[in-house]
Assembly symmetry: C2
Homo-oligomer: 229 residues x 2
Amino acid sequence: MSARDYPRPSVSVDLVVLTIVDAQLRVLLVKRKVYPFKGSWALPGGFVRVGELPDDQGEDLDAAAKRELEEETGLGPDRVYLEQLFTFGKAGRDPRMRVITVAYYALVRPDLAPLVRAGGDVSDAEWFEVSTLKKMELAFDHREIIEVAVDRVRGKLDYSDIAFELVPMTFTIPELRHVYAIVTGKEMDPGNFRRRFNRMIENGVLEKAPGKRITVSKPATVYRFKRLA
Amino acid sequence: MSARDYPRPSVSVDLVVLTIVDAQLRVLLVKRKVYPFKGSWALPGGFVRVGELPDDQGEDLDAAAKRELEEETGLGPDRVYLEQLFTFGKAGRDPRMRVITVAYYALVRPDLAPLVRAGGDVSDAEWFEVSTLKKMELAFDHREIIEVAVDRVRGKLDYSDIAFELVPMTFTIPELRHVYAIVTGKEMDPGNFRRRFNRMIENGVLEKAPGKRITVSKPATVYRFKRLA
DNA sequence: TAAATAGTGTCTATGAGACATTATGTA
DNA sequence: TACATAATGTCTCATAGACACTATTTA
């Protein structure tokens, strides 16, 4: 019996698409229209397209994630941060059949978030506050997947650039500080927080950008993040 | 057409089993006895056992990793640190057919490493120095997988307890320092290094253990790592 | 006793956090 | 002008690194 003949699992890609809108960390969920979990909210995702032929084996795993992202949000992968998260493969996690899912997470800038519903071919897609998911019934093990994703984002906040994926293209340091506060749940001291980014400003990693915020007092300087090549 | 009827990929589990022996970071490889890459060295691994029935969907992904670890090294998962690494799923990475592999990495204490060859059912298994792999032809994308694993270990060294998985059950601070030096490639100052673990010693996370090293000068204190429950 | 390494002490630079102060815009 | 918030400054403390020094064991 060749390896070819063993039973195979279905492999899907699930997306934890996160954004910050109205001072809340939100995740994009779609309403399931079929069994199982019909009517429940679930992560957007789908099966990896696999070819039958050795020469055409189908799409790459990353390509499947990008395709699903585009299909379900209308956002191209160039506008969104996308990274593999973890693979969930417990037996029984899908009652129909064996499904192993490779989860990805995506970070959507708040200014792009409103575009999502128009672009998707899924009619019932909504941004839910992560903090309110506890009360909801989610499909499959999607609650656990979201938890892992949020933990990952929290963990990477301090040693990576992902915070810049959760503010608009141009932003102020106070806006960036709000991102930190929302993700970590802790307010940061405005003065100390700014100092953390002073070097980036001197480096030119953050450069001044045109634009202005409507404020009741002194407006903050607007910056743009220049990703180093 | 139901989801059931789409073509499915094979899903395998590959293991990057690492240890430190003779002052070298080493990875366990097995010689392939079948095509493709017959005769090449490859990561130990195998296909996830998938059930055909909704009620019996087969083994969990983690269980597959533990099973392979036991089969190929003879080491139970209780004696070895095992963690999911990353999922590699490019089309064409296996020329025969579409295979998506979930890679795990395992850390084996140096005193257990010699037991490995006896226990495995794979006759041709050997520990290779990671630094010499560049010259070798490895099967599939296994070189890339090893690289990701080593990067992961390097990255986690400073903020996790994994260094203790690469020394014997009882060890000295200088021995631990050698682990850091070998993994990171940088020698650490002995005095400063020790200070990093002074708090753990005061906490009781590290406790004195019986045992002694054969040395040419003052022998170091032997400790045991007490994992907090 | 000599050699070697374990382990401690000291100094400095750096960064985080608490908090005060100044600067600059809006209403 | 009053107010609010941005932005800067100051102080303290914890930590990392460089390096000198002491302690202890072996040969």
